[in-house]
């Protein structure tokens, strides 16, 4: 029984799950049952993939011991690159692929600058936040291009599917990608290297792990997911605005941290990041439903982030104090 308790208290997602349950109950009561109605859930699930995909990438990167503050800008730059090419008459696939390649390139530059010059990724990606946003505005030419009708396969990315049109296709993409990244982290040798690199860098290096390449790969994956998420949002809205994704980098960090990811690296799970992202969507939606002034959203998010970290630290300490014999 003690072991059982300990295992659960050690789960880094626990605080996030607890908040999710509590908030769901509160919002359900305050909104007079509207919160869990099919129409409202459809709304939440339609927007969730966009934040959650960014959170998945950022969580992976944070487990690897690095930060990416440029995800919000990549979120705008990728679909803008795609839209500019579509407008120039490129077919969808090459334009989409180019957009994702731009995202990969940004991640590559972030990673190489960080590991080559041994500077904190907080700095490199802060620089990239401005650079990528600036490029987005420049290539948009000041006039955001409208996506030509039928220029992209709606059915593949944003159309409604499932019983009662509950999900958008983007949700299925998100679930598939989340499962893949979770498996990558927990079931492959690469995942082992990511955790080791973020957990204790000198040990990972002395065991011969190519830590620099592992980090660059995580930067690229993180950037790719942000670019994909932005593309999904633009396809949903039908037009790429150069300002989308502003502030998203901090929401993604908040999601990861609420989900139990440690800023110091090595600790965290993809599921935790997703739970964190879900919580952010739920708060946003729940506050609106409860007819609370929308300006309270950031306040709630901020309080939740700090509180979740405190709760997580406390849970971990409690788990540690439950003594289970490690040796005989």
């Amino acid at each position: 029984m003690k072991r059982f308790m300990k295992i659960y208290l050690e789960k880094p997602e626990l605080a996030g799950v607890a908040f999710l349950v509590i908030l769901t109950i509160v919002f359900q009561a305050r909104s007079g049952g509207v919160f869990l109605s099919a129409a409202n859930l459809q709304g939440i699930l339609g927007l969730l993939p966009e934040v959650a995909l960014v959170a998945v990438g950022v969580t992976l990167l944070m487990i690897c011991g690095e930060f990416d503050l440029s995800v919000g800008s990549v979120f705008a730059l990728t679909p803008m690159s795609m839209a500019v090419m579509l407008e120039a008459g490129w077919p969808f696939l090459p334009a989409f692929a180019l957009g994702l390649c731009v995202a990969l390139l940004v991640g590559f530059i972030n990673g190489v600058l960080t590991v080559k010059f041994a500077i904190p990724s907080f700095i490199t990606t802060l620089g990239m936040l401005f650079v990528a946003r600036s490029v987005t505005v420049v290539i948009s030419g000041g006039f955001p291009p409208l996506l030509p009708n039928g220029a992209f396969p709606k059915w593949l990315f944003v159309a409604y599917v499932g019983p009662g049109d509950m999900f958008r296709m983007s949700f299925l993409w998100f679930v598939a990608i989340a499962v893949l990244v979770t498996l990558l982290l927990s079931r492959t040798n690469f995942g082992n290297w990511v955790r080791a690199t973020g957990g204790f860098l000198p040990a990972a290096q002395s065991m011969g792990i190519p830590t620099k390449r592992v980090k660059v790969a995580c930067f690229m994956l993180c950037s790719l997911l942000a670019g994909l998420a932005g593309s999904l949002q633009v396809m949903r809205l039908g037009a790429p605005l150069p300002s989308i994704g502003e502030g998203l980098e901090l929401q993604a960090v908040a999601a990861a941290v609420i989900g139990g990811t440690a800023l110091t690296g090595g600790i965290g799970t993809i599921l935790g990041g997703i739970i964190g992202a879900t919580l952010i969507r739920v708060i946003d939606n729940g506050l609106v439903l409860s007819q609370v002034d929308a300006n309270w959203f950031k306040m709630a998010l901020g309080a939740l982030t700090v509180f979740a970290v405190i709760l997580n630290a406390w849970l971990r300490k409690t788990a540690k104090s439950i003594k289970v014999e490690t040796g005989k």
Partner: protein, 244 residues
């Protein structure tokens, strides 16, 4: 010394931007002995070890392993050759399980593409239980986090890992630092047992008593040079303290 040395170090130099940390070290390590490497802080012991274990490159000089000239590009090369190193700061990731730590960088895979693949977690669990039992360490479960183990248990796991991968040479760089007396004794016991296992060892410690207790040969370094190299029976603690 009848057989050819397992490691030959020839005229090794190491500069750290302005600091001459190794000044032409020439040494042989033989197959049937445990060498104790002693010296003050900053003498260059760790630098020598880091070069042998592939974590640093020498500025000048040569290393021969089993008679062949080698130049390790990284720790993976040295481990591949059969040199396992146990560091003072402990090369374990505290936030990962024992089983995962055992196999960092050398994970058994069910299948893989381009070097990345699916972990054989069953094999990892079974073999780590076996490896830990082999060094006479008793741990509850291979899934326990290394961060929950005591310093001595961690070094035990590091040693189990080195043994599991059939090392040909075992290097221990101050493995007893920050350990309680009882745990220090366990690690020393292990160093002594290397001889029975037929594995040559290089044991670094700033505690000369410990080195005398478990080594066959003493090498003393000072200011980047070897200042004494004798069999234990031919020297004394006083002589060594004198040269340092």
């Amino acid at each position: 010394m009848t057989s050819e040395p397992i490691i030959q170090v020839r005229n090794l130099h190491k500069w750290y931007s302005g600091v001459h940390a190794l000044k032409g070290v020439t040494l042989d390590f033989h197959r049937n002995e445990t060498v104790g490497l002693v010296g003050d802080n900053g003498a260059g012991k760790s630098t020598l070890i880091n070069i042998l274990s592939g974590t640093q490159a020498p500025t000048e000089g040569e290393i021969f392993f089993e008679g062949r000239k080698v130049s390790f590009k990284g720790p993976a090369d040295a481990m591949e050759a059969g040199i396992e190193t146990i560091y003072q700061y402990n090369s374990m990731v505290p936030t990962m399980s024992i089983a995962r730590n055992m196999f960092i960088g050398r994970e058994p895979l069910k299948w893989s593409i381009g070097g990345v693949g699916i972990l054989d977690t069953k094999k990892m669990a079974e073999e780590s239980v076996q490896a830990i039992a082999d060094v006479d360490l008793h741990l509850r479960s291979p899934d326990a986090l290394v961060g929950e183990l005591s310093g001595g248990q961690r070094q035990g796991v590091a040693i189990a890992r080195a043994m599991h991968f059939k090392s040909k040479v075992m290097i221990l760089d101050e493995p007893t630092n920050h350990l309680a007396v009882k745990e220090t004794q366990k690690v020393l016991g292990f160093v002594k047992s290397l001889k029975e296992l037929g594995i040559p060892g290089i044991f670094i410690s700033h505690n000369i008593h410990h080195v005398f207790e478990c080594c066959d040969r003493m090498v003393a370094m000072a200011r980047g040079e070897v200042v004494l190299d004798k069999r234990v029976e031919d020297t004394s603690m006083d002589e060594i303290l004198d040269v340092l």
